[in-house]
Subunit: 238 residues, 2 copies
């Protein structure tokens, strides 16, 4: 499915550099996935200890971003990549920015966990949040997979998937607004739950960004401000 000819470089070392960067991005993605998994678990189980671990662990994500960024700059300076290799480096630079920001949103979710949340989380809301978390986890996993396989079609499907998360977010928002109206004394606490849902919705947006970089990487075409429907046809011949 890959359109990139990673085997055709003059220098073996260059190949290794690029492979190293790709695998580091996936490593960073893995850390973010683990953080997300834990943050959602902390939120729905109101687990303070786990939430604190997530907040603390965000430095790992940040450190990987800085490391990969430096590696990319080094590659551009030393290897002077052209065409698809340069696209790969550019896509990586943008991808890790979004991965790091997903990490920030994960941290935001974890920060919303605290004792008072217990009263604000009905079983229904808890299940809704858990389900939304599952959707975001799946989206993140799928986009990392599309990146790993430089699969534009899979990336396209990820970009489409974001709509499901947006719908879920609207449903949760409506429920939370009803709760606030029913029990105004709970407003500050329920707002925290709303912020957590909002953070998850933003993660979906960022996964969509990454999906667009994968399409750029494969097609050499910037689709960031193009509706998926409008470049779908180009993926058929892929």
């Amino acid at each position: 499915m890959s359109n990139l000819n990673l085997g055709e470089h003059i220098s073996q070392q260059f190949n290794e550099d690029l492979e190293e960067v790709r695998s580091k991005v996936l490593q960073m993605g893995g850390v973010v996935e683990e953080q997300l998994e834990r943050a959602i678990s902390a939120l729905v189980n109101n687990d303070n200890d786990l939430a604190r671990k997530v907040v603390k662990n965000d430095v790992r994500v940040n450190a990987l971003e800085v490391e990969i960024d430096e590696e990319c700059t080094r590659i551009v300076a030393r290897r002077q990549p052209a065409a698809s290799d340069l696209r790969l480096v550019m896509a990586v630079i943008k991808t890790i920015t979004d991965l790091e920001r997903i990490g920030d949103e994960v941290k935001r979710v974890a920060k919303m966990v605290h004792e008072e949340l217990e009263g604000a989380l009905s079983e229904e809301i808890r299940q809704e949040l858990e389900h939304m978390g599952e959707l975001v986890k799946r989206m993140l996993n799928d986009v990392l997979d599309a990146f790993a396989r430089t699969d534009a079609k899979a990336a396209f499907e990820v970009a489409q998937f974001d709509k499901k998360i947006d719908v879920k977010y609207m449903v949760i928002t409506r429920h939370l607004m009803t709760h606030m109206a029913q029990d105004p004394s709970q407003i500050p606490t329920i707002l925290n739950v709303l912020w957590a849902a909002r953070a998850m919705e933003r993660m979906g947006d960022r996964c969509e960004n990454i999906a667009e970089y994968v399409v750029y990487l494969v097609l050499g075409k910037d689709v960031r401000h193009v509706k998926p429907e409008d470049y779908e046809a180009e993926l058929i011949d892929d």
Copy 2:
């Protein structure tokens, strides 16, 4: 104040390319500033027509991002920049991502404007939002200025300024929560105002990101996950 020796390139054409990119970034920044100005005016005056213009105009910001991105990729491919020139290109690529996202947040503010908002906006909240908008506008203006002059000290000050916006955001949030508790029927509308304030708070975060790229550009040091206090000393000798 600039540490970049933009005059020392082998090729005159290269100089011109870099200058072109720098001026396009400032042009993009100018469009975002204008959009922000209008969105805040639309919000506090509940001006639907102006809000619609802002939403429509966001395509200009997006188009500039794509254009500058392509220009940067072209420069890297053709001119194979090293050292400080490469840093400039990398800083530009990251800066325009954040500028585009500020544009998205501006659009979010504009989208919150609608008829029902009238009832939710007390004179006090209106003034608070206007003031918060002034702070964000100032921060955006200052960071673009720091970028234009590649002034790390000014960028450092911008990064510090974000704290003021965060405080303002907390004050507004508290006021809005009180309003919600007093009149639960207004909750959905007041939440819209809260989203607008949140969007402005995020703009501040993104200005801080840009400030960090300017520091990176000048000092050649990645300060994204470093507290401003911890690199302040290095700016003294600047």
